[in-house]
């Protein structure tokens, strides 16, 4: 925050957001509850601003409509109205903002961070405390200005590797029961829950079956893909060979 006082804000970029220029971008903060209300505003009110989506979140699911809008269509709608960046209020937090992948696609099989034909603007999560502070200041008539610096960028696809263990089936070794999780925690933290413990549990389950000397009719595989799209390729590969 650069006005009315200088104060660092905790933030984290949303997945697949574009970054800012190296020196960052500065703008006045425009708090709006959700992107439906934003869409009702005129371009003059939004252009050049940093939109702050303030919808409170459900601590349990992160599926409150306001939050979902903010991380789906929010940045595209804001960009279309000339906003220069988007900030999104996190859920349960004590200065510990929570990220998520930016995706405005309505097709479950396609991920699309921004809508076609709109300016791509940087989008970041801020903590509940910082979001409320900015909201309160603006509500009291004090304009808030924020300098946002983000280095986010996308690099071309690169090779990655999957971890796969097989227990051959005794009757139909070509047919597979697959279990696993994803090994691709792309965000902050250690990814212990998402999905480190999940992949370790599936590997341990395969080890347990092996230790007990069990030989099922069909093969079991513990597969932990490094990317969901990698799983897609692998699953298609399995389907193609008729093993699933």
């Amino acid at each position: 925050m650069v006005a009315p006082i200088e104060k660092p804000l905790t933030m984290i970029g949303l997945g697949m957001s574009v970054g800012t220029p190296p020196d960052g971008i500065t703008g006045e903060v425009l708090p709006v509850e959700n992107s439906n209300l934003l869409a009702a505003l005129s371009r003059e009110k939004v252009a050049g601003k940093i939109v702050l989506f303030t919808a409170a979140n459900d601590d349990k699911t992160y599926r409150t409509p306001g939050y979902r809008q903010a991380v789906t269509v929010g940045p595209s709608r804001a960009g279309a109205l000339g906003a220069i960046a988007v900030l999104v209020r996190s859920g349960y937090t004590l200065q510990r903002p929570r990220t998520t992948g930016l995706d405005c696609s309505t097709d479950n099989m396609v991920v699309k961070p921004y809508a076609d034909g709109v300016p791509k603007i940087p989008a970041a999560a801020v903590s509940v405390e910082d979001a409320l502070m900015m909201q309160r200041l603006v509500a009291s008539g004090t304009p808030v200005r924020v300098l946002l610096k983000m280095q986010a960028h996308m690099e071309p696809d690169a090779d990655s590797h999957n971890v796969i263990g097989d227990i051959p089936g005794r009757e139909r070794p070509q047919e597979v029961v697959v279990m696993g999780g994803h090994i691709d925690s792309w965000d902050v933290g250690q990814g212990a829950q998402d999905d480190g413990s999940g992949i370790m549990a599936s590997l341990e389950a395969a080890v347990l079956i092996n230790k007990l000397g069990l030989h099922p009719r069909w093969a079991s595989a513990s597969a932990s893909p490094t990317r969901t799209s990698a799983l897609r390729g692998r699953s298609r590969g399995w389907l193609k060979s008729g093993v699933c």
């Binding site: 601590d59 349990k60 699911t61 992160y62 996190s90 859920g91 349960y92 937090t93 510990r96 903002p97 929570r98 990220t99 998520t100 479950n108 099989m109 227990i167 089936g169 047919e175 029961v177 697959v178 279990m179 696993g180 999780g181 994803h182 925690s185 965000d187 902050v188 933290g189 250690q190 990814g191 212990a192 829950q193 998402d194 999905d195 480190g196 413990s197 370790m200 549990a201 599936s202 341990e204 389950a205 395969a206 347990l208 079956i209 069990l214 099922p216 009719r217 069909w218 093969a219 079991s220 893909p225 969901t228 799983l231 897609r232 699953s235 298609r236 389907l239 699933c244």
Partner: protein, 89 residues
């Protein structure tokens, strides 16, 4: 499936519901593969999910072991069924 679930009564993991999913199995489900997900108590997951607080010290060993047991039983039984799972709703 209810019968398989009953094998896990002793660790209170017998409930089978029809809802669930997730990014990992989305494409497999889309391609028509019968799919299952382990449903956990999910008490604090969202408090830590996608934040710097998602760290290994929070894994509860006993809960982890129960998850492993549930996965092992379910996957073994599915892999040892005489026929393929078909027409699963």
């Amino acid at each position: 499936m209810v019968e398989i679930g009953s094998l896990l009564k002793s660790i209170d993991a017998s409930e089978i519901t029809t809802r669930g999913g997730g990014g990992d199995i989305r494409y497999l489900v889309h391609d028509g593969v019968p799919a299952f997900a382990l449903k956990t108590v999910y008490k604090q997951y969202s408090n830590w999910h996608h934040t710097d607080a998602d760290t290994f010290d929070k894994i509860v060993p006993r809960d982890f072991q129960l998850n492993v047991a549930s996965l092992a039983v379910l996957s073994y039984v599915l892999a040892d069924m005489p026929e393929r799972l078909t027409d699963l709703k």
